[in-house]
Symmetry: C2
Subunit: 177 residues, 2 copies
């Protein structure tokens, strides 16, 4: 019993420390720091409807699927821009690999498929115009296959690059009918 | 309005022709020919859950998504083989094209995306062990972007090739988690 109380006390103290360290950003003394990152994997995303697919060559060399929750898919299909609050776009990436079993049957190396999960396995864009006002209304997130959030250095690159496609509300992927 | 009626009439006539040309196979004069092809696009397939993605290089040069209806996805996720009756697997293919708008932002040609629909746009495998007994329990289908069924010459190639992956019930695509 005493041990349990001790554990709880340590947990409370740790939390207090975390909260304290999240204090006001410089120059915003009277205001809470605005969140720009998403910290939890949106539940059920693997069952969402497909937006499109892509092969990202270059350094990443992955093959990816872009999915959307119902709010995002509705906006995509109706051509609604900007995306409304509540829209979430998921991007799953897999290492881009030749399928040896398929190619054996086809007789030549022509089939490239989804392999294992790279460190940038899951990414999400969550629309909340107020909450993520500092990054164009979108919260950005990245998780590896164990559900660990991506390094902040990676996340800091999301908005500056997505900002370039402002005419489609920062969303690169077009809906593939 | 007249134009619409004309289109419908052409469609009906085409369909009648297709049905007529599907008459009894030689040597089965007293028996109905066993169907091996699927003639209708399964409704709602575009909302189905993603199985995986692939790039088919070579002659086709497409990028594709494989989707499954609920029966198929359940079997995939539970590793159930053979797939039960009612399982339907959809394959949507798009021409594999570089995204000029993305590459302009990235500064080099690294983004390949889903382009327009090739003639082999949609394919389906429908599981019905009895109905499609002649082709391993699967009915095969292909449709172009206007919903026109693929030429029989194309369809006749489905089963002989899929037969090579018998250990996974004739289904090439593995589920990508």
């Amino acid at each position: 019993m005493m041990k349990r109380i001790a554990v709880v006390l340590v947990a409370v103290a740790t939390l207090a420390g975390v909260v304290a360290s999240m204090g006001p950003a410089s120059g915003q003394a009277n205001q809470e720091a605005a969140p720009i990152f998403v910290t939890n994997i949106p539940p059920g995303y693997r069952d969402w409807i497909l937006v499109s697919v892509a092969h990202e060559a270059g350094d990443l060399n992955d093959i990816r699927a872009i999915l959307g929750n119902d709010v995002a898919i509705k906006a995509y299909r109706e051509g609604q821009l900007p995306f409304p609050d509540g829209a979430i776009i998921a991007r799953i990436a897999w290492n881009y690999v030749p399928s040896e079993e398929n190619n054996k049957i086809f007789g030549r190396p022509q089939s490239f498929v989804a392999g294992s999960a790279p460190p940038w396995y899951l990414q999400f864009m969550v629309k909340d115009a107020k909450k993520y006002a500092a990054t164009g209304g979108w919260g950005f997130a990245q998780f590896d296959k164990d559900g660990q959030p991506g390094p902040e250095a990676d996340l800091n690159k999301c908005f500056p690059c997505h900002q370039a496609i402002k005419e489609r509300d920062l969303v690169f992927t077009r809906y593939a009918p």
